[in-house]
């Protein structure tokens, strides 16, 4: 078994979900690392999109902002945010990664506030940014996040970004794009997907070193589970080498 840390495992796990010939819209940090890793390993034809307008750059290093000049480095196109958002709207974006202060069993995300008073919140976060847009339109929205029972909440204080809303067919009925929605939740402990009918989060695989009990203890709601819970695959040596030497040589994201 190779020696690696949790962040490395999450990035590798995220990268493996990205298919060649598909498109992914990424933010800074781990999502960007996952996309870069996928492109440099199994998915050379992965189209990377930055919401601010960078299309298919040859990233020389990790961007600090989804709109900084690295996102158009030797890119195929430097366009507008309106343009990239229209890509989402037309169904041209297959994957994305989001995060948040809270996530519930239907994959709804809170990145706006903690506390009940909207005009005077206890804790104010950045808000949607592009997250609600990504979550509304992307075919397969993924969440990459550390897991604990406060973050994995019975009920979000505020739903910034739609998951499956109240589950079942509530997302389709809301008017959001048909067939889109949460796809994977990748944590330090496990990988979850969503049960097709109820749209509730369920355990798909558990990361090496963690038990089902760990996963359930660190979740504020009841998780469903696949009949057969697998063990999350270890990163390969090649994946780790590419991640460490080509994607994040200064270990900004994967840590020291």
């Amino acid at each position: 078994m190779a020696d690696y840390n949790t962040m490395e495992l999450m990035i590798v796990t995220g990268a493996r979900e990205l298919k060649s010939g598909a498109s992914v819209a990424v933010g800074t940090g781990a999502p960007c690392a996952a996309a870069m890793l996928a492109q440099k390993t199994h998915a050379s034809d992965l189209l990377i999109i930055f919401e601010a307008g960078g299309i298919d750059p040859q990233l020389p290093e990790m961007p600090i902002s989804v709109g900084d000049s690295r996102t158009i480095w030797k890119a195929c196109q430097a366009t507008s945010m309106t343009d990239t958002m229209e890509l989402f709207c037309r169904g041209m974006v297959d994957y994305t990664f989001l995060g948040g202060a809270q996530i519930d069993m239907y994959g709804n995300l809170n990145s706006t506030r903690i506390g009940p008073d909207h005009q005077k919140p206890k804790v104010r976060f950045p808000g949607s940014g592009g997250a609600n847009d990504f979550g509304s339109f992307c075919w397969n929205m993924m969440v990459m996040t550390p897991q604990d029972s406060k973050r994995f909440a019975e009920k979000c204080d505020y739903i910034t970004t739609p998951g499956y809303l109240e589950g079942g067919d509530s997302r389709d009925k809301s008017g959001l794009a048909k067939g889109s929605g949460p796809y994977r939740v990748i944590t330090n402990m496990a990988v979850m997907d969503f049960e097709p009918k109820s749209k509730r989060m369920r355990i798909k695989s558990i990361n090496p070193g963690y038990s089902e009990k760990d996963v359930r203890d660190n979740c504020g709601f009841e998780l469903l589970a696949h009949k057969q819970i697998a063990e999350t695959h270890h990163p390969t040596k090649k994946e780790l080498t590419v991640l460490r030497e080509e994607v994040d040589p200064y270990r900004y994201v994967i840590g020291r």
Binding site: L47, K74, C76, A78, E86, C89, R90, M92, F137, G179
Partner: protein
């Protein structure tokens, strides 16, 4: 939704945004070589009965070579976006390519006069029409580009243009103002002529873009004809110049002078003499039949067509005219 009024024109395409998304889900995002001959591109992507749109503005940066190829391959029963459509319309009418038509501007060639053959076809009763305006069709393409089934605009209200359109009158939920809702238009296939493209379909246009950027996004399949192929490295050197990105594109065809006899900004001016020939010969059906055989049906390629009308010497002269220079072209 309260609909206050609606036009009688039929919609020739489905405005449903989820249905369009289902198509775009299947479109490749891979950076693959899309080079093919124009002949193959038309055979592969232009199908009888489907909805066709043509980029540019009538005889300006319009893919006339592609229009000829569509006629040569005898495509029929198509629906067509008659949007700022002049010489392209004239060519497609010569082949009776379409029998369903969204009209903004047809039959005329602006200051050059009217196409008698196109007018005859439009007066024959063979073509089912819906009426729109230039901006209506631009807005319908914009809605499609935005992935929405309609966009509200403020023209056509109170006129017969509305009455014979497929638009509907609604009210703004914020102001109560009336708006004409324009249904999204997702063409099955479009052709756009550009200055430069790489083999993946990244395109540069050194000209007005008319509605082509929205058209490129709205089209389910897109054929690009280009004056020149350039390497992908050149595209990546200056990504701000890319106006159509590769993943909108299905086929890339290198067709120099592909807008001839129309104008291509900074490249060549229109061949007014030959366009006049089109307008004149149309008046005599027998002569027009011969003309079409000679210029379209019996030629193999756009180069052959150009050879019939002065070849490279003519192209140089048209370049001089475009740039207002005096080179070999004016002596050739």
């Amino acid at each position: 939704m309260d609909v206050i009024d609606e036009g009688v024109g039929r919609l020739f395409t489905d405005p449903d945004a989820d249905n369009a998304r289902a198509h775009f889900k299947t479109k490749s995002r891979a950076l693959t070589n899309k080079l093919m001959s124009l002949k193959d591109a038309v055979a592969k992507y232009v199908h009888d009965g489907e909805y066709l749109a043509i980029g540019g503005f009538g005889a300006n940066r319009t893919p006339i070579a592609a229009c000829h190829e569509i006629v040569r391959q005898k495509k029929k029963n198509m629906a067509f976006a008659g949007h700022t459509s002049t010489h392209d319309f004239q060519v497609l009418c010569a082949g009776k390519v379409f029998n369903k038509l969204d009209i903004a501007y047809i039959v005329g060639l602006e200051a050059r006069g009217l196409s008698s053959n196109a007018r005859k076809y439009m007066q024959s009763g063979e073509v089912e029409v819906s009426e729109w305006t230039n901006y209506c069709l631009s807005a319908r393409l914009k809605a499609a580009a935005m992935g929405i089934s309609f966009v509200p605009i403020r023209n056509v209200m109170g006129t017969d243009t509305f009455k014979f359109s497929g638009a509907k009158i609604i009210e703004c939920p914020f102001t109560g103002q009336k708006y004409a809702a324009m249904p999204a238009l997702w063409p099955d296939v479009s052709v756009i002529h550009v200055h430069e493209a790489d083999m993946y379909g990244n395109c540069r246009i050194r000209d007005i873009t008319v509605s082509d950027l929205d058209l490129a996004k709205a089209s389910k399949h897109l054929i690009i004809t280009c004056e020149r192929l350039i390497p992908n490295e050149e595209i990546r050197r200056e990504p701000t110049l890319t106006l159509i990105p590769f993943f909108c594109v299905d086929a890339v065809c290198e067709v120099p002078y592909g807008a001839y006899p129309g104008v291509m900004a900074y490249e060549y001016f229109s061949d007014e003499e030959h366009i006049r020939e089109w307008l004149t010969v149309e008046k005599d059906p027998e002569a027009f039949k011969e003309f079409l055989d000679k210029n379209i049906y019996n030629v193999e390629s756009h180069f052959d067509y150009i050879r019939l009308h002065g070849g490279m010497e003519k192209m140089l002269a048209l370049r001089d005219k475009e740039l207002m220079t005096t080179g070999n072209g004016n002596n050739g």
